[in-house]
Amino acid sequence: MFKILERKDLAPSIKLFVMDAPLVAKKAKPGQFVILRIREGGERIPLTIADYDAEKGTVTVVFQEVGKTTRELGTLKAGDSIQDFVGPLGVPVEFPHHKKVLGVGGGLGVAPLYPKLKMLHEQGVEVVSIIGAKTAEMLIFEEEMKAVSDRLYVCTDDGSKGRHGFVTVVLKELLEQGEKFDEIIIIGPPILMKIGAEITKPYGIPTMVSLNPIMVDGTGMCGGCRVSVGGETKFACVDGPAFDGHKVDFDELMKRLATYRDEEKISMDKFQEEHECKLTGKIKEAERNAAE
């Protein structure tokens, strides 16, 4: 069992857990992810590592309640435990020779972007960041990003904070103004990464994206997470999750992400039925599990 040491509600439906996972914390590097399972019978889902502390033995994950498993995860509180927390998985990212990097994060994608920029910042690399969300309320990690960025742009789709518009608009502006970067890292919903990579391509700037396809084991044994990169099939779990954004077939990725849409709905409806309070319509908190 792995204990949740701390829980923060970053935005409506976006939550942060600090997990007690010393072995994972010891080996974790930026760009890696974990697979977790809440309980027996639960699904294995991948979550990108948003931060880690080897000394304290903690790993931070951030998730958005979009499906049944993340919804159920959101009912847990500090002190609760989950069954499995496996990692660190995937290939760590490295930027040995960079001087200036641009990070672009949309929605939940800001969380996995953060450890990469933090590492770059600590290496003395100049970091420029653009982060965005639908609304001011949905924006996460602003303070953290400020701390590791030499310059930070904030955008919201509805204009409730910072620039009114998508992060890709600012990305385009910076490039049009002639600003140069050794690499651009874009993390967010697939459509954002697709559009972002299309914007950077004519400038010939290496562009890294981080993919989050459906996974089961996370160790390369099922191939469920396969993505087409430069016409070759890669497994995101062991070859990624970071890839060259100019080579990824995002349309295929988006289609594959929809594989279990019907089943996700069945699962979600069942969960709602079982956990929704008939009086308030809210999802009930999880019952304390046995580890307590």
Binding site: L23, V24, K27, R37, G41, G42, E43, R44, K68, T69, Q83, D84, F85, V86, G87, P88, L89, V216, D217, G218, T219, G220, M221, C222, G223, G224, R226, V227, S228, T233, V238, E252, K255, R256, A258, T259, Y260, E263, E264, I266, S267, K270
Partner: protein
């Protein structure tokens, strides 16, 4: 002791095909005591038994069969367990027809003795009464790490624990058992049996740690730093192979590994009571001709498919699957398309599989494997309409741990190079099972785990 002169094996009670094709319960139900005694009485008790030589772990077959004939079941299981620590598993999934039973003299005149069925019978007889934990020797105070928890690893760990070593098993998944748990379906090998075997090695003092993706969370170097004096690698052949034809990334195309893992390990058959889904269409094509293809096809049927095809590029004769599994699959209504090779998977605009284009083959000259090479017949292309495709054409070595381990020599196929005893190029590191041989059988993996355990013991004794 009376001799049963029947030329036929005592039949195995089994679920009827029309019933079992829709449930995940075990197909073969096992001998009754009477069946077992009856079958045991067929054994001629040869002075120079061929069956023993045919067994990769040299079970003293005539001896245990004699005890069954005398209704001394407890003594029978003791004999088996001297050399085989997983009899309930082997009695079910060993290819006896290629091993012990192939060498049985009775086979020349009729059916060989049903050695596998008898092994299963006594193993189940013991299970029903509660397996006794053997007395353990004093602890030696030496730590050995075993990576993986499939048949090779479980055997190696069990043997070392019995010798007095402190053994830790590191398993990547949340549940130990390896391919016995994620690969072989419930209807061939009930998961409760695997769990019992794991519980048994725990009783021997073995510590089993799950969620340990070795090479990521810990490396072999870390293990030595932690005080482990020897390491056994039994990580299996877990990397799925795809065909490399267009359309393999369409929705509804699965590797057999993913298909079976979702169903077996993640219990997708209980969805939505359990959370992991799977998509099985009304018409399913499974590509390949091995046991994994049979398991996938029969699982698809049990998940509710109306029509399941096995698409295999060679003919029935070359098929590597066990005869018994092939027969079972046929009885259940699986359709076999021999001499048929997929060339393209066809999808709809949303990316879902809607068909598989195949070409008919004919057999040409023998290839490197000694089997006649299938060659395409020009102009014979046709399209099979299916909604799900499962690719079961084999697996390769997973490089995850290998890449993270220095000083480990590999063979030309990328598997770990190891000698007869499982010794690798790196001191203190042994390997065995599919990670050395490529995908093979449970019993061969167990044999390798056994030899490695003996070799590790010898090494640690001389090391002092």
């Amino acid at each position: 002791m009376p001799l049963n002169k029947s030329k036929k094996k005592t039949p195995m009670p089994a679920q009827k095909p029309e019933v079992r094709r829709r449930n995940f319960q075990e197909v073969a139900l096992g001998y009754t005591e009477e069946d077992a005694v009856n079958e045991a009485q067929r054994c001629l008790q040869c002075k120079k038994p061929g069956c023993v030589q045919g067994c990769p772990v040299q079970v003293q077959i005539p001896r245990f069969i004699k005890y069954i004939a005398e209704r001394e079941f407890e003594k029978a299981i003791e004999v088996i367990k001297q050399t085989n620590s997983l009899p309930a598993v082997c009695g079910r999934v060993c290819p006896q027809e290629e091993q012990c039973e192939k060498r049985c003299v009775l086979g020349k005149m009729g059916d060989p003795v049903g050695i596998g069925r008898l092994e299963r019978f006594v193993a189940d007889w013991e299970r029903a009464r509660g397996v006794k934990t053997p007395e353990l020797p004093p602890r030696l105070g030496k730590k050995v790490a075993v990576i993986g928890s499939g048949p090779a690893s479980l055997t190696c760990a069990g043997d070392l624990a019995k010798l007095g070593y402190d053994v830790t098993v590191f398993e990547a998944f949340h549940k130990p058992g390896g391919v016995l748990v994620y690969g072989i379906p419930e209807f061939r090998l009930p998961k409760a049996i695997v769990q019992e075997e794991v519980d048994f090695i725990k009783k021997l003092g073995v510590e089993v740690k799950t969620d340990m993706v070795m090479g990521k969370v810990l490396t072999v170097d870390d293990l030595f730093d932690m005080g482990y004096e020897a390491v056994f690698i039994g990580t299996g052949a877990g990397l799925p192979k795809f065909m490399g034809i267009p359309g393999e990334n369409y929705l509804g195309v699965y590797s057999a590994n993913e298909f079976l893992t979702r169903i077996n390990l993640m219990q997708a058959y209980s969805f939505p009571q359990t959370d992991t889904p799977i998509k099985v269409g009304k018409k399913v094509a499974v590509v390949g001709g091995g046991n994994v293809a049979m398991d996938s096809a029969r699982s698809a049927l049990r998940m509710g498919a109306d029509e399941v095809h096995i698409v295999y590029r060679r003919s029935e004769e070359e098929m590597p699957a066990r005869r018994e599994e092939f027969e079972n699959a046929k009885e259940e209504g699986i359709i076999f398309d021999f001499l048929t090779n997929p060339i393209r998977i066809i999808g709809d605009e949303k990316g879902w599989v809607k068909g598989i284009e195949c070409i008919r083959m004919q057999l040409g000259e023998p290839d490197a494997s000694g089997r006649r090479r299938p060659v395409p017949i020009k102009g014979s292309e046709f399209t099979m309409e299916v909604e799900t495709v499962v690719i079961a054409i084999g697996t390769g070595p997973n490089p995850l741990l290998i890449k993270a381990t220095e000083g480990l020599e590999l063979n030309k196929y990328g598997y770990i190079a190891a000698d007869e005893d499982g010794k690798t190029s790196r001191e203190g590191v042994w390997a065995g099972g599919d990670i050395v041989t490529g995908a093979a059988t449970v019993i061969l993996a167990m044999g390798a785990g056994k030899k490695a355990a003996a070799s590790i013991h010898e090494y640690l004794q001389s090391k002092k």
